[in-house]
């Protein structure tokens, strides 16, 4: 019987809109959409508000991926720094700011995995060199999944809606196509064909760029 979500007051009979932070805010503070708009407009206070509201979520993801410590803190820091400097890429009309921040955070997590993998290979290469062994190409032993993730997250960014939202619900919220249909209000057949086409598109990206990467 836990309180799932607080309803936005003033919308009688609606569970459609939710207040992210169920605490009472000072009335002078803008709602999330407004924070998103001001963030996109480059207002510094909006970065501070965004951090107040969503740094916990972002850091929670980073900690889930790397455990508490410097790596997670670095991911959170990089997420907000990139989001701020790259705010021109955020369009408040296309989606809420926290969702966009979560997307940036995924990139930072994938980048950190890739960096670690590169360091591992460099260390191995240095060791084999120190032992006067023929040094293999540095790309030997590259972790395919790590490299795939960086490419695939890039490709997701290129998807339009509703394709992107659909595949994200499948990948990141583990919803079935039927649940996605309910969530998005799209017909089942539409959801199925978008899923199929997006998976093909991702496969193509891996076949083209993934192959080059490992060559």
């Amino acid at each position: 019987m836990t309180g799932l979500l607080a309803l936005r007051p003033g919308r009688m009979g609606s569970v459609g809109l939710v207040e992210p932070v169920p605490t009472q805010r000072v009335t002078a503070e803008p709602d999330d959409r407004e924070v998103g708009r001001r963030f996109a407009a480059g207002e510094e206070q909006a970065l501070a508000w965004a951090y107040e509201r969503w740094a916990g979520q972002v850091h929670g993801m980073a900690v889930r991926a790397f455990g508490p410590g410097p790596d997670a803190e670095d991911v959170t820091q990089q997420t907000f720094m990139s989001a701020w400097t790259g705010r021109g890429g955020y369009n408040p009309d296309k989606g809420p700011l926290p969702a966009w921040l979560v997307g940036v955070c995924r990139h930072k997590i994938a980048d950190t995995w890739a960096k670690r993998d590169r360091q591992r290979r460099e260390t191995e290469a240095a060791m084999s060199e120190a032992q006067s062994m023929p040094a293999g190409p540095v790309t030997a032993g590259v972790d395919t999944a790590v490299a795939d993730r960086v490419l695939l997250l890039d490709e997701l960014d290129l998807l339009g809606q509703p394709q992107r939202g659909i595949i994200e619900l499948a990948f990141f919220e583990d919803l079935t196509h039927a649940q996605i249909a309910v969530r998005t209000g799209l017909p089942l057949g539409t959801v199925k064909s978008h899923i199929r086409r997006t998976l093909e598109r991702l496969r193509n990206r891996l076949e083209v760029d993934g192959a080059a990467l490992h060559a």
Binding site: M1, T2, G3, L4, L5, L7, M12, G13, S14, V15, G16, V18, E19, D32, Q45, L47, E52, W54, A55, G56, H59, G60, M61, V63, A65, F66, G67, P68, E73, T76, W84, T85, P96, P98, A99, V102, I109, W113, R116, D117, R120, A145, D148, R149, E168, F171, F172, E173, D174, T176, A178, Q179, R183, T184, G185, K192, I195, R196, L202, R203
Partner: protein, 285 residues
């Protein structure tokens, strides 16, 4: 031999269960299996718990903001107590994340055990503004024989109603169950049950809700029919653990309001949905 459709193979790559005939074909068809495997590389790379929608919030230590401020030159600053509070505010266990069943091994990452992750507002991550649905892969559908609701079918359904301890409906005795769905618990609730739509020969309909849920002290259960966008809804009535039958408004389009939702309401005089849902099912009408 008839191959699976490209769409079915896409769903198989996401590890959704296929209809029996497709599943049987897939098990024996090299070509279809190879197709699934080629599509699955992306699924395995991205559908990992580390990249899933946000779970438990964790307040970052103060040094993180200091570094951001130093790098960006931004002088406005978040209030540390608000940052801390936003992480602590996550008390609502949220369903959709769960332990991703199709997780593949993540490289050199020690993920802390987050067994029951917490999402403050899962809608934010998906860009939608809806209540979370727990993954639920087997909606239960009972459509009674489409034959004219003859005495035999009617009698059977009445028997079911009586067995369930329903209150007498008190109109036409002949009824027909036109749809039924299991009500699955949301979040970590243990409420569950079943909802059936009953149609009488005179065309009137009722919703029978069989609810298994704990007793409430100063709150009550309420049953709603909600649209797929989770925006508009119709209150059906007050429920309790056990079986209760509600009259449905004449002309109510169940296709428009297919979600049967059971909420917990405080006795506060506010007729709106509290936002606290404990069980749900989607009618296939």
């Amino acid at each position: 031999m008839q191959h699976c459709t490209p769409e079915q193979l896409g769903l198989a790559a996401l590890r959704e269960p296929l209809p029996d005939a497709d599943a049987a074909h897939l098990a024996g068809c090299e070509q279809c299996r190879a197709e699934v495997a080629s599509l699955q590389r992306a699924v395995d790379a991205l559908a990992v718990p580390q990249l899933a929608a946000p779970g438990a919030s964790v307040a970052p230590p103060p040094g993180v903001w200091a570094a951001i401020a130093a790098a960006t030159g931004v002088t406005a600053a978040p209030r540390p107590e608000v940052v801390a509070a936003s992480a602590q505010a996550s008390v609502a266990p949220a369903p959709p994340l769960a332990a991703a069943p199709r997780a593949v091994e993540a490289p050199a990452v020690e993920a802390p055990a987050v067994e029951d992750p917490v999402v403050e507002h899962p809608a934010a991550a998906s860009g939608g503004s809806v209540l979370p649905f727990r993954p639920r892969r087997r909606p239960l559908l009972l459509v009674a024989a489409a034959a004219v609701a003859g005495a035999a079918i009617g009698a059977g359904a009445v028997a079911v109603l009586r067995d369930g301890g329903t209150e007498p409906i008190g109109r036409e005795p002949v009824v027909d169950t036109v749809a039924a769905v299991a009500l699955d618990p949301l979040a970590d609730n243990d409420a569950s049950g079943r909802a059936s739509v009953i149609e009488r020969t005179d065309g009137t309909r009722a919703l029978e809700v069989e609810l298994r849920a704990g007793d409430l002290d100063d709150r009550y259960y309420e049953v709603w029919l909600i649209d797929e966008a989770v925006q508009d809804m119709v209150s059906v009535g007050v429920a309790r653990s056990g079986t209760v039958t509600f009259e449905l408004p004449v002309g109510l389009d169940l296709g428009r309001f297919p979600i049967v939702d059971v909420s917990v309401e405080p006795v506060d005089g506010d007729p709106a949905h509290s936002g606290v849902s404990v069980a749900r099912g989607v009618l296939d009408t």
